[in-house]
Symmetry: none
Subunit: 182 residues, 2 copies
DNA sequence: TTTCGATGTTCAATATATTGAACATTCTGA
DNA sequence: TCAGAATGTTCAATATATTGAACATCGAAA
């Protein structure tokens, strides 16, 4: 493969001033595993690499982020918008990689009965959206409203909020939020 | 591991309308490999996953970009969207008053022949959008593309850009930009 | 010097990913 | 209805990752 996983891991590990053994202990693998990975003498499993990175800690996305210096795409065909989420709620994101971006734009789909649940997330930023098809019950800070095609919403993300498709047909909407930081 | 590699791969593969065998052929692995990975019955090696993604094609960074996404959004907002535009190009804005807001969300309508003009707009921030109806020619930093329903774009606003409806029917799209400076 | 602790390396044993081929199912066209 | 092609699945055989333990090297302290 074109990318040097061994050098990448070694660089990351040494950047945190961790020995192979210490990282191995935190990650729950043996030091031999780390030695072999860094020497590129094995082709690690995703699971093993994930465990190792958990010990750092670093996400797989971060670990591989360096390999994508490709010029940022400006256009996305409908079928190349990656579908995320299974079950009743799914969304397709404009642009696969969010790092460094100021905006997250999603095409969201709620199956009949779909519900984000009472879990009210609180994060910084603001978000809004426009309903394309179907009907959606939106709850924000205690206020409830059922929105249809052409209707829209906008609020500060720290306010408790919830989405629910109370109709009989799928609901599709386009949303934007900022910043897309987690 | 916490992320569902199988579901992610399946989603990506199906999004590109590829069969397991077709993807396997392009990637240079067997269809069994892809079947097993998608069923989460194996813990694929990074190399194997890389080869599979090469067949799509998609980078590992893109593949794992969804490792940490959990944007749940929703809030309710008015259904009377303020009319901002004029003539062949009109905008209906989500939220009447932008002061203090981090996001501007618009429902834009381009009549046939509508054109933002040869003079490339240029301002700070980033913007993106998704086409709802009709066809729109988008030019960004010299790149030209005609987008249809479901297609999307995203770019930094400082790059010269231009929108033009080259079709015979009105084009409608939903866009977002930040900050809402004109 | 010598010993000790910590480092990274190597290798046989074991666990597991990948293959190759067969299987069942679904769909389409005749 | 049938035949063929295309789909996803399963499993024994094989290839390879991971382990556990031993090895070598280095620097610090006595």
């Amino acid at each position: 493969m074109e990318i040097d996983i061994g050098a990448r891991l070694k660089s990351v590990r040494q950047g945190r001033k961790l020995s192979q053994r210490e990282l191995a202990r935190r990650a729950g693998v043996t030091n031999a595993t780390i030695s072999l990975i860094e020497a590129n003498q094995v082709n690690p499993s995703v699971g093993a690499l994930k465990r190792v990175l958990d010990g750092i800690p670093m996400s797989l996305a971060e670990f591989f982020a360096f390999e994508a210096p490709a010029p940022r795409k400006a256009f996305y065909k409908a079928d190349e918008l990656a579908e995320v989420g299974k079950g009743k709620i799914s969304y397709r994101q404009v642009g696969a990689d969010l790092t460094g971006r100021a905006l997250q734009i999603l095409v969201e789909r709620y199956a009949p009965g779909a519900d984000t649940g009472r879990v009210m997330l609180s994060h910084d930023g603001e978000e809004g959206g426009v309903i394309i098809r179907g009907r959606l019950e939106v709850t924000v800070a205690g206020q409830v409203r059922v929105l249809g095609p052409g209707d829209a919403y906008y609020f500060e993300s720290r306010q408790p909020h919830r989405f629910r498709n109370v109709g009989k047909e799928p609901c599709e909407l386009i949303s934007a939020c900022t910043p897309p930081s987690f």
